[in-house]
């Protein structure tokens, strides 16, 4: 069973997003995504200051099995990448919603978050992909 926390927002491309109190959002990939990919061996993240476009690739994760782009969930600017991940990509498998976060960004407009999926809608998406 996939682990889909209720308090997060999601994209159709399997990123999660968590709003922080300082107006930034934290982004990672979901439990379902890491489970599909298997053991992560390589993570390439956008540098701080990178301008990203919603729905466009801004990073790469590679597992033993496959490579996959990481897509920016909203427009904005990256303010911090998780510097621990490149040396321990397996953290994405072990704790995808915690220590396995990928980057923090400042959305161009907070209203963009409304266009993302909630936990229920994402759960339905995952269920539909399984059949």
């Amino acid at each position: 069973m996939s682990n889909i926390p209720k308090d997060l927002k999601y994209t159709k491309s399997h990123e999660w997003l968590k709003p922080n109190s300082d107006g930034t959002v934290t982004v990672g990939i979901t439990h379902h995504a890491q489970d599909l990919m298997g053991d992560m061996v390589f993570v390439d993240l956008p540098a701080s200051g990178t301008k990203v476009t919603a729905g466009k690739e801004c990073g790469v994760v590679e597992s033993v099995k496959a490579a996959s782009d990481v897509y920016a969930p909203v427009n904005g600017e990256v303010v911090e990448a998780n510097s621990a991940l490149p040396d321990s990509p397996e953290t994405v498998n072990k704790d995808c919603y915690g220590a396995g976060w990928m980057f923090r960004m400042k959305p161009a407009s907070p209203a963009e978050l409304n266009g993302l999926l909630d936990a229920k809608a994402y759960e339905a998406l995952v269920a539909s992909e399984k059949h």
Partner: protein, 364 residues
């Protein structure tokens, strides 16, 4: 729903992620493929390889039959239980399958072939047997197969299945087998580590698996099996060679017996001709110098000599970097730098001799 081995229920109980492999529902991993890989390199692990196709071939002239059927020469098998690895070729020298053949006695050879190629293998062997005459081919669907591999594998097998095996199986040289009761124990494998492959009655497999588990042998999925064999520089049928490639183009010249020159085997003319004219392509090892993972079918640009393709690319957990087998023009040499197109970006790879890893150690 695919075919299931006698160990399927135990895989599910042990938390396996099950995937389709050549029509079989097989365990990909039981949690972490990389951790399983390290266990086999550092300690030991067991693999359910019951999907492999075990076939007994009998007849008065069974040795001559295999001297015709296989590119390697079973005349090398002089003591009972000895095995060789060989390709089975079509008339164009292309590889129908790779296999291990055991000399059981003068009228009985046992072959272990791949699972995904079962139907075409059986059609080929049956048709050759019919033409040759006096050969009886029996697929042993009543058997299962468990591989126990790793530096501590043999000790764990004695512990789990009986000290008596230490004297019977423990003294076997590599690529030999012995029958002990209902167990057929061979010193073969697909990991580059010490260990056994055990062929046994399907109904005895679950109990044996549990005995091994209780002795502390962890189950290993097909995911780690693939990275282990790649590090060990062992070919995978369908990736590194198939019916469009000859063994000479697939790093398998060592398995082709062109001597004695008067032995006629299927595919021989093409190999003789290729040898005389020069083999145009070769299989080499590649190591990625930067970060990322090499993948099957990525193009390899070799300056001045042309283009090749990765046939098996992955991440080596032991070396902590990406490695690959690739088919490239014959002029490419060890130490050369080539460029791989990695998802639209050029990446530099170094051409190396493989295996990449043997008995837990880097060969680079």
């Amino acid at each position: 729903m695919g075919n299931k081995t006698p160990l399927y229920d135990l895989h599910v109980k042990m938390g396996a992620k099950v995937v389709d492999f050549g029509g079989w529902d097989m365990p990909l991993h039981y949690g972490s493929q990389i951790e399983e890989h390290h266990k086999v390199r550092k300690d030991c692990g067991m693999f359910d390889v019951s999907h492999m196709n075990v076939v007994d071939v009998k007849g008065e002239r069974v040795r001559d039959f295999f001297r015709l059927l296989l590119a390697n020469d079973v005349a090398k098998l002089k003591t009972k239980g000895k095995a060789i690895y060989s390709c089975m070729l079509n008339s164009k020298g292309g590889v129908i399958d790779d296999l291990i053949v055991y000399y059981m006695d003068d009228q009985w050879f046992r072959v272990v072939m791949n699972a995904a190629t079962r139907d075409k293998d059986m059609a080929w062997v049956n048709s050759a047997a019919k033409e040759f005459g006096g050969i009886v081919v029996t697929p042993r669907n009543d058997l299962a197969m468990i591989a126990v591999q790793g530096p501590n594998a043999k000790e764990k097998v004695y512990q789990a299945l009986g000290e008596a095996l230490r004297t019977s199986a423990g003294s076997l040289k590599p690529f030999h087998a012995v029958t002990v009761g209902e167990l057929f124990i061979a010193t073969t494998g697909y990991t580059g580590e010490d260990g056994f492959e055990i062929i046994l009655p399907a109904k005895a497999a679950p109990f044996t698996w549990q005995m091994l588990s209780e002795a502390g042998v962890p189950p290993i999925g097909l995911g780690a099996r693939d990275t282990l064999r790649l590090e060990a520089g062992m070919n995978l049928y369908g990736s590194d060679m198939d019916e469009t490639t000859t063994p000479l183009e697939s790093g398998l010249a060592w398995t082709v017996a062109l001597e004695p020159a008067d032995r006629k085997f299927i595919g021989r003319e093409v190999l003789d001709k290729q040898k005389a004219q020069g083999v145009p392509r070769q299989l080499v090892g590649l190591v990625l110098e930067g970060k990322g993972v090499l993948r099957n079918h990525q193009k390899v640009q070799c300056d001045g000599v042309g283009e090749g393709e990765i046939t098996s690319g992955s991440f080596s957990p032991t070396l902590n970097q990406a490695v690959a087998l690739a088919r490239v023009p014959a002029a490419v040499k060890t130490g050369d730098r080539c460029t791989v197109d990695m998802r639209g970006k050029p990446a530099t790879v170094r051409v190396v001799k493989y295996p990449f890893v043997r008995s837990g150690r880097s060969c680079l």
